[in-house]
Amino acid sequence: MPDAADILRLESIKVHFPIQGGLFDRVLNRPAGAVRAVDGIDLNVRRGEIVALVGESGSGKTTVGRVITKLAQPTGGRLLFEGRDMTSVQGTSALRPYRHRVQMIFQDAYQALNPRHTVFDIVAEPLRSLRLVKNGTQLAERVSEALAAAGLNPPGDFVSRFPHELSGGQRQRVVIAGALAVRPELIVADEPVSMLDVSIRAQILQVLIDLRDKYNMALLFITHDLPLAWLIADRIAVLYLGRLVEIGSADEITFNPRHPYTIALRNATPQIGGNPCRAELPALQGEVPSAARVPKGCRFHPRCPLAFDRCRQEEPPTVEVGSRHMSACWLNER
């Protein structure tokens, strides 16, 4: 579905990491294979839209984020930003305009901040390296603006502090301020609240939602937490072993999931008020297989309680199962 408002489009993006075979394999000239971390993903993000990418560890969700921020090079497919093909653009200077518009927020604010830099230096860094300001006054203005937008008020109280003088929530705000300083149009946030104490998670989520509301910023929110995705996102994309198994509006995915994996994820999530989706499904056995040995057919079939013959043979296509709701499961054809 090409859409004029799309800011970002991924077209069958693949990231395969080659496996270095042992001596024996090389002597016998045996192919060593590949880890198929991301295995053909189509995803679009519109201006001002919050899309949540949900998956377990090993599903490839972080790799997708790294492809979008040009930290990982896809081995197949296309990455389009405002219709422009960015797949093969590489190199610091060629990527400078892109980095100015797409920023990433990492999970661990303790590691993302240089302990020897002050908050000012940390937030000013992207402005300096992308050469977005002309003089010191302008720099100071942009830094305080970013700190204020990330909820560090008044900014003057924070600029000369070092990361160890901040609480966990404040550190994550500094990370956000660093991403905001360049006024990006898309932010990729990789588990931005999972390291934070529960009482300050909501504050950070509020900051992210405000950014969308104020600046019409698009956000790709990577998480493993389905209820959290429902809370923040307009749309949810569910990832399993390198492929999207289901994508739709946050409400559709939460209340009317169609893929057995989404249902299993839903049912496994502990919930205070009980489970809103009452779809019956036995609990899943086992764990996510290795991306180096992706099962044949539907990659979920070895764990799927509803799998039948076709699932073991053929990979299911992604089909429309509702309004803007896509799912890749043979059960949809029945």
């Binding site: 404040q170 104490d197 009482s199 300050i200 989520l205 496994a268 489970n275 996510v288």
Partner: protein, 335 residues
């Protein structure tokens, strides 16, 4: 804090326990005046943010406090007998035989160069005086008990997935047939589906072996599905204690109420984000009076000066000035 009117005699009693950490000549109070009782077979969740003292409480019970910690007051009793919780050697006969701990990072807690079977058999040899072959048989039995085929016991920890390693940890904890298991964030590092499997296993083992469980977690929703009772901790003190049903349906302490509100709950269909203002308290500069008062939306004058006691309300307990006044004149509880 014992109450003989309750159905069973408590297995474990923690009575006015306070623990300080010495840090560069400064003494920091990690837990302050903590009292509770655990009955046989009961599952209690200990919930709090970082620095709330939940782990210190649990480590004190297991006698595993770090060397710079000091028990400044209070006692821990097991079946009526005082435990020497600050004496590592004296705790040895008790630990693992009566109280076991399942830690968060199974990869760090397991020895990477020994097969898991050997590691499970180890406590049986050392603690129960079994012979090698008896211990191996016991280890196979334990592996099956936690849902791992006994033949997988020859694997090394790195050959097992995160969920399997956590199952091995549980098998080790069960080796000497303890009556209390302390789970220190046992599922935090695991994926949602694996977490559900481990919580289900703990639940099954609990009813099968009549184990009492102390589950330490920062995640209230985990407690909702696996515990009978919850204790909410804040800045080293218990602020609320009650049954799971009671606390989630009718939280009394403002902190508990705000904490529940921060959990996204699709069941009520409301996408509202209600942040708790401010930051979690710092042990170095603990606020006077009720430690939560700087962040509390219902704080009153008295909250800044007087520490509220943990008052009983039936079988529940709450430490909040709002509920103290409500005992005298029953108004404005939900103001």
């Amino acid at each position: 804090m014992t109450n003989s009117s309750q159905d069973k005699a408590p297995l474990l009693e923690i009575d006015r326990l306070s623990v300080d950490y010495g840090l560069k000549g400064v003494s920091l109070r990690a837990i302050d005046d903590v009292s509770f009782a655990l009955r046989p077979g009961e599952a209690v969740g200990l919930v709090g943010e970082s620095g709330s003292g939940k782990t210190t409480t649990a480590m004190a019970i297991a006698g595993l406090l770090s060397p710079n910690a000091r028990v400044s007051s209070g006692v821990v009793r097991y079946r009526g007998n005082r435990l020497p919780i600050d004496d590592d050697a004296a705790m040895r006969p008790h630990r693992w035989s009566e109280t076991s701990v399942v830690f968060q990072g199974a990869m760090n807690a397991l020895n990477p160069v020994h097969r898991v079977m050997k590691q499970i058999a180890e406590p049986c040899v050392l603690k129960l005086g079994m012979s090698r072959s008896e211990a191996t048989a016991r280890a196979r039995e334990l592996l099956e008990l936690v849902g791992i085929p006994a033949d997988r016991g020859v694997a090394y920890p790195h050959e097992l997935s995160g969920g399997m390693r956590q199952r091995v940890m549980i098998a080790m904890a069960l080796a000497c047939r303890p009556s209390i298991i302390i789970g220190d964030e046992p599922t935090t590092a695991l994926d949602v589906i694996t977490q559900a499997q481990i919580l289900k296993l703990l639940g099954e083992l609990r009813s099968q072996l009549n184990l009492a469980l102390i589950l330490i977690t920062h995640d209230l929703s985990v407690v909702a599905e696996s515990c009978d009772r919850v204790m909410i901790m804040y800045a080293g003190r218990i602020v609320e204690d009650g049954t799971v049903a009671e606390i989630f349906a009718n939280p009394k302490h403002p902190y508990t109420r705000l904490l529940i509100d921060t959990i996204p709950n699709p069941a009520n269909g409301k996408k509202i984000i209600r942040p708790i203002p401010g930051d979690p308290p710092n042990l170095i500069s603990r606020p006077p009076g009720c430690a939560f008062h700087p962040r509390c939306p219902s704080a009153m004058g008295v909250c800044a000066t007087e520490v509220p006691g943990l008052d009983k309300f039936g079988r529940a307990r709450v430490a909040c000035h709002l509920h103290r006044s409500s005992q005298e004149d029953k108004v404005a509880i939900h103001a």
